[in-house]
Symmetry: C2
Subunit: 224 residues, 2 copies
DNA sequence: CGCGGGGTTGAGCGCCATCAATTGGAGTGG
DNA sequence: CCACTCCAATTGATGGCGCTCAACCCCGCG
């Protein structure tokens, strides 16, 4: 999952599955904090998240961390490059994933069905990442967090009375490393939204969206 | 072109061409500032830069701009998503590009040769973009500019006496919008490198790398 | 020679990082 | 059930990096 601004009306149309045919592997299950793969691992299969959530992370020697993306249901993780994974993938909670073999692709030739699905998925991934660049490079902390909550609401929101509620499977530090901020700034920004009655909290991991319109406005304009 | 840190030894192995077979279109030429395509345009072909350079940009309503990538010789630009371009593409100088038809891909089936090449290119693009996230989200201005010059040296450096010289076809504002900075900060950082004798300038558009080792160190550590 | 636009440099400030202290909530054991 | 622990989250205080606003420089061009 990336932060994309342009998807408010056109529901993100993720392929329900990469291929019915190639679905010959049983689903994978992970416990919180378990690794699905590490950076540098040889890629044998790619995965589509069925339920739960994962994070894709890269690390710098000095400890700085960037979360490249979160993987939510429908998302595809494990795109290979030269046969290797380029990120770590860690489960944030209990996760179920559908694996797909990549052996057909190892040969230069693309096995048509899976290859076409994979290509479409990769092209969508590129477009989503492009949107995310704008987020990281040009948006303020307020805009980033507001956009993050807005996207999460669209992807994982569940009705709660007259409002929509979202649960955050990741820590504040994860959100910070995803948005290019610090945990303190994320926390402060969320508190500020709470004080402005844009959201309400039920514990640190559950957010109730009270005024989505205002949040969206903040996500696009920062300080209107 | 993205800012990738991990490529210092393994020379970036861009496909020399997507496909010899599909190379049935004559090369495209652009003058400086000419548009190759606009955001939202229907995608009919994708391009590989032969010579010159282009920028891929996205715009926000309020005028903020992010340069997603620069396209240098060997780079592929115009990855489609749902049949549309998601960035503007503008020539920075005189550019020559090799176009490839996408009509074969319009059908759900992947025409094997071009499809495989396109998939490989897309996967490389994803990996390169992942590296770039770290740059935008977690690096200081010094690190960003140092890394930028280092990558540019690897991609377009030409020998000049005992040193390597690079020419910057883009403006300071372009560099700033690429790295998530302002023109002033880019200019200041470059001046600082010049005063530290890491680089020398021959006009604003030509940089001579005097101490690549120091530059690389700065690119990875910021302030050692 | 005057003009204009990109580049450079300077002064000041604001946003966000940093450092630090406190709170809160989940898990554990008495 | 409560006391205790531990770590995440929150809140506060302070500082610095990079943005903003502005002046100036440089150079190509009419």
């Amino acid at each position: 999952m990336y932060i994309t601004i342009s998807d408010q009306d056109s529901e993100y149309n993720c392929p329900r599955q990469l291929s019915e045919r190639a679905k010959d592997l049983p689903e994978t299950r992970l416990k919180p904090n378990a690794h699905l793969f590490h950076e540098g691992d040889r890629v044998e299969r790619i995965y589509q998240v069925i339920s739960g959530a994962v994070s894709l992370t890269r690390l710098l020697e000095d400890g700085r961390r960037q979360i490249i993306a979160f993987g939510f249901p429908g998302d595809i993780v494990g795109f290979p490059c030269d046969g290797r994974h380029h990120t770590d993938c860690v489960a944030l909670n209990d996760v179920r994933l559908q694996p797909y073999r990549l052996s057909q692709l190892a040969s230069g030739r693309v096995h048509s069905k899976l290859g076409a699905g994979l290509l479409q998925a990769a092209l969508h991934e590129i477009a989503a990442m492009q949107d995310h660049f704008m987020m990281l490079g040009r948006k303020s902390a307020t805009e980033k967090v507001a956009a993050f909550l807005t996207v999460l609401k669209r992807r994982t929101g569940t009705p709660a009375g007259q409002y929509t509620q979202i649960s955050l499977p990741m820590s504040r530090a994860d959100i910070a490393d995803f948005l290019g901020l610090t945990t303190e700034t994320v926390s402060r920004t969320i508190s500020q939204f709470r004080k402005s009655r844009l959201i309400a909290l039920d514990g640190a991991q559950t957010v109730i969206i009270l005024r989505e319109d205002a949040l969206k406005a903040l996500a696009e304009e920062g300080t209107p």
